[in-house]
C-alpha cells in the first residue's frame, strides 16, 4: 500500500465486541436458507444437491438464480451463467477486502469462501474502528450466516416447513433493510451519497433490460468515477 493519509486506528475491545454483536445478528438472516432448500427441491434438484450448493457455493443470490433456471426448464448452462454472473461481485469484494483477509494460504482460502455481500458490508461498516473490529465483524457474520444458511437449507430441502414461509416473517424485507443500514453511513457524505444515488439509478434502469446479476455490476461500474482524482476528493 502507498503512504496512507489517515493512520489506521487500533480497535478498542468495545469496538471489537460491537462488531461481533452486529455480525452475529446479521448471521441470523441465514435462516432464509429454508426457502432456498424448498425452492431448489421444487425446481427438480435433489435435497443433497441443494445442500452441496449451499455448503460449497454459499452465495444466496446465485443459488436462487440457478434453481430458478432449473424450475423454468432452462438448460443447465443458462443456470450456470446466471449464477456465475451474480457471483462476479464476490471476486470484487475479495479484492477490496484483501488487507483484512488472513495472509497464510489455507486461512485465506477459508476466509474467501465467506466473502459475500453481507460479510463484506459488515466488515467495511466496522473498518473505521480499526482492522481488528473489521475482522471480528467479518468472521462473526460469515460463520453465523454459514451455519444458519446451511442448517436451514437442509431443513428446507428435506421438507421441514416448521420455520414457515420466510416471507410471512417479513424476512424478504430484512435483507434490503440490512443493506440500507450498511449503506447509511455513506449517505451522510455528499460525494459517496452521489455515487450511491447514481448507482441505484443505473441499477434500476438495468433491471428493466438486463438479466439478473447485471444490474448490480452495472451499478458497481459507477465506482469507476474513482479513477478521477476529483471524485476521490
Amino acid at each position: 500500500m502507498p503512504a496512507v493519509s489517515t493512520p489506521v486506528p487500533v480497535s478498542t475491545p468495545d469496538a471489537v465486541r460491537a462488531a461481533r454483536r452486529d455480525g452475529v445478528g446479521l448471521g441470523l438472516l441465514g435462516v432464509y436458507g429454508v426457502s432456498f432448500g424448498a425452492v431448489a427441491v421444487a425446481a427438480g434438484l435433489s435435497p443433497l444437491q441443494a445442500v452441496v450448493l449451499s455448503a460449497v457455493g454459499f452465495t444466496g443470490g446465485s443459488q436462487f438464480a440457478f434453481a430458478a433456471v432449473a424450475a423454468a426448464g432452462g438448460a443447465p448452462v443458462t443456470g450456470l451463467a446466471s449464477a456465475w454472473l451474480l457471483g462476479v461481485r464476490n471476486t470484487l469484494y475479495a479484492v477490496r477486502l484483501t488487507d483484512l483477509l488472513p495472509s497464510r494460504v489455507p486461512a485465506r482460502v477459508a476466509a474467501s469462501a465467506l466473502v459475500i455481500d453481507e460479510t463484506t458490508a459488515m466488515a467495511l461498516r466496522h473498518e473505521p474502528h480499526g482492522p481488528q473490529a473489521a475482522r471480528a465483524a467479518f468472521w462473526a457474520t460469515g460463520i453465523g450466516l454459514f451455519a444458519t444458511w446451511n442448517a436451514t437449507t437442509v431443513l428446507g430441502a428435506y421438507g421441514v416447513q416448521a420455520l414457515g414461509d420466510p416471507a410471512l416473517l417479513g424476512l424478504d424485507a430484512a435483507a434490503p433493510a440490512a443493506f440500507l443500514a450498511l449503506l447509511w453511513p455513506y449517505l451522510r457524505q455528499r460525494r459517496t451519497a452521489a455515487v450511491a444515488g447514481l448507482a441505484a439509478v443505473v441499477a434500476l434502469a438495468a433491471s428493466f433490460v438486463a438479466p439478473a446479476g447485471i444490474p448490480v455490476l452495472a451499478g458497481g461500474a459507477v465506482a469507476l468515477l474513482g479513477l478521477s482524482p476529483r471524485a476521490r476528493g
Binding site: L80, V95, R108, A173, V202, F208, G226
Partner: protein
C-alpha cells in the same frame, strides 16, 4: 439436475471468491485503483439495496418489501442500532401482510 452442473456451479462460485483474494497486491495498490475500490462497495450496495427491494423473478416488482425499507429508513433517521433496524423492517412487513 445433473451432478456435473451442480458441482460446476458450486465450485465455480467458490473459485470466484478465491480468485479475488489472490489477486496480486501490486495490481491493486495504485492510487487510481484504490480510488475505484473505495467507491466500489458504496455503488454496489446501493444497487443491491434497490434490486433486492424491487427485484422479482422477472424484472421489477413493487410489493410490501417497500414497507420494510421505509420502516428501516425511519429507524435509521432515529439512529436506531443496526439490529433494531433489521428487525423493525421484517416485523413491519410481516404485520402489514397479516393485516391485508
Amino acid at each position: 439436475m445433473s451432478w456435473l452442473a451442480v458441482w460446476a456451479c458450486a465450485v465455480g462460485l467458490l473459485l470466484q471468491k478465491v480468485a479475488g483474494a489472490f489477486v496480486p497486491r501490486a495490481w491493486v495498490s495504485g492510487e487510481r485503483v484504490r480510488g475505484v475500490l473505495t467507491l466500489l462497495p458504496v455503488a454496489m450496495f446501493a444497487a443491491l439495496t434497490l434490486t433486492q427491494v424491487l427485484g422479482g423473478t422477472d424484472g421489477v416488482v413493487l410489493d410490501l418489501r417497500l414497507v420494510g425499507l421505509g420502516t428501516a429508513a425511519v429507524a435509521l433517521l432515529l439512529r436506531a442500532p443496526f439490529l433494531v433496524v433489521v428487525v423493525a423492517a421484517a416485523a413491519s412487513t410481516a404485520a402489514v401482510r397479516l393485516l391485508l
